[in-house]
Amino acid sequence: MQEIKDMVCPFCGCLCDDVTLEIENGEIVATDNCCAIGNAKFLGKNRLKNPIKKVDGKWVDITYDEAIDTAVDILLDADRPLLFGWSGTHGEAQCVGVHMNEILGGVIDSTTSVCHGPSILAIQEVGHPGCTLGQVKNRADLIIYWGCNPIEAHPRHMSRYTTYADGYFLDNAFRNRKVIVVDVRETETSNVADEFIRIKPGGDYAVLSSLRAILRGKGDMIPDSVAGVTKTQLIQVAEMCKTCKFGALFFGVGLTMAKGKYKNVRNAIEFVDDLNRHTKFTLTPMRGHWNVYGANEVMSWMTGYPYAVDFCRGVAFYNPGETTAVDILARKECDACMIVGSDPAAHFPHSCVEQLRDIPMIVIDPFQTMTTTLADLQIPVAVTGIDAEGTAYRMDGVPLKVKKAIDSDYPSDTEILTRIYDIMLEVKGL
């Protein structure tokens, strides 16, 4: 039995880097320091053994060489291919994806568009008062979780960085660090909060505006209740925020997927801006996929835009709402699709899934997913963090090297995408 310490968990945006893996006969047999989700990921079985291709409605096993040729044919035959996913793979593979999209003149979009895309739109309007999770852990005496439920979605966030973590500059952090949870429903997270603000669905914008009004001395304008929250509680929460030494607001898709979308996030950023006139306060989106932040970084360096980048004009064009995956699929605009490290059949609205079914689709993923059933080709790859390595960005923008624990015969995403890209260059004479 071999024990490997300080491995990075490739599940959520926390990128916990203190995981211990036990290896026996070239397989991971146990984990330590993982949450239930990370543990399930490391111990996951049922990998697809070889590439598969749908022929006359039936799956047949094929070789990697055949799979790569088929993928090239599908993508080069398309007029408007969509390359989607990218949050479940490492940065090096994302780079190849962007290059590939440029020569294809297609659209490249990541799962950002259906998680924190609206947060990026808000950040582009008013900036991002962020900091690293280390600052939060060691300094923050007030935490706000707004529209997120870390106990279910980022299970170790509270123990590594906030509620249950020690802080270098804090005395008795566990007792003295206060936690405010804002949500439309009671959750496991709201149950451990010092203060729970329960908002009526769609009321986030109004509550943020009310808190900002109180901070600016205009509390008398606020009615007795705003979106189900009493004025007394709003005044109390504004006071808690104003008088803390260092506050950190974390928010989830409760803000980005509800009415108001990016305007909710903009108001949250401006609330933090107002608080910085009284104390130190920061804001961090609770990014979901382990490397969704990396997908935004890579696309930003390479194209100038963080997601939903359209190259049909020969230059990068970005217009979320038009060039985002859900909109392109709903308009039945794309005529081929490549999915890398994502499962849109499980997460997209029904009409988008119907369009995925109706066009040629390639899936690059280690496992048979729900999208597989509707695809025409799947190429299995190694799992980053298990038998492949690469760069990933944590939810606070810190890049980490995701190491591999075991060797396998599976090629990495980068290897497969590079092979496809090289043949495309050759065919196009580039």
């Binding site: 669905p201 979308k261 985002t324 029904h350 899934v353």
Partner: protein, 130 residues
């Protein structure tokens, strides 16, 4: 009865994320959490099936009592079940209204479908080779 549908991550749904064709995932994503008083008004007992409909589509889910929800709101874990009634309209933002969709709920004797059955209904084919 009319409800607001809210969808989101649960830890059990997350555990099955790399194994979505499993029974565990099917059980988790076909649950519909409802306030107990709403269940009473619907005339539905816990673990009985309900039909969720709107202009987009319909889906059969199983009722789970959840006192943490406000009356008038239901919560369904992310997955193909809840997406059956989610519109692709993004209001020009790229993001559908996953957290706030109006739906109608009635009791039903119909059976729940698994994700695989829903995909097969769409024309999907499961690879049986592994």
């Amino acid at each position: 009865m009319k409800f607001i549908l809210n969808s989101g991550r649960t830890i059990r749904q997350g555990k099955y994320i790399e194994n979505k064709l499993s029974q565990g995932y099917a059980e988790e994503t076909s649950q519909c959490h409802i306030h107990p008083l709403d269940l009473l008004e619907l005339g539905v007992e816990e673990e009985e099936n309900i039909l969720v409909t709107n202009a987009i589509g319909e889906v059969v889910l199983v009722a789970v009592a959840d006192e943490g929800l406000p009356k008038g709101m239901v919560f369904v874990p992310y997955g193909i079940h809840c997406n059956s009634v989610i519109s692709a309209c993004t209001h020009g933002t790229g993001m559908p209204d996953y957290k706030i969709h109006e739906v109608e709920i009635v009791p039903t004797s119909e059976k729940r479908k698994t994700p695989v059955e829903l995909l097969e209904q769409l024309g999907g084919v499961r690879y049986a080779g592994n």
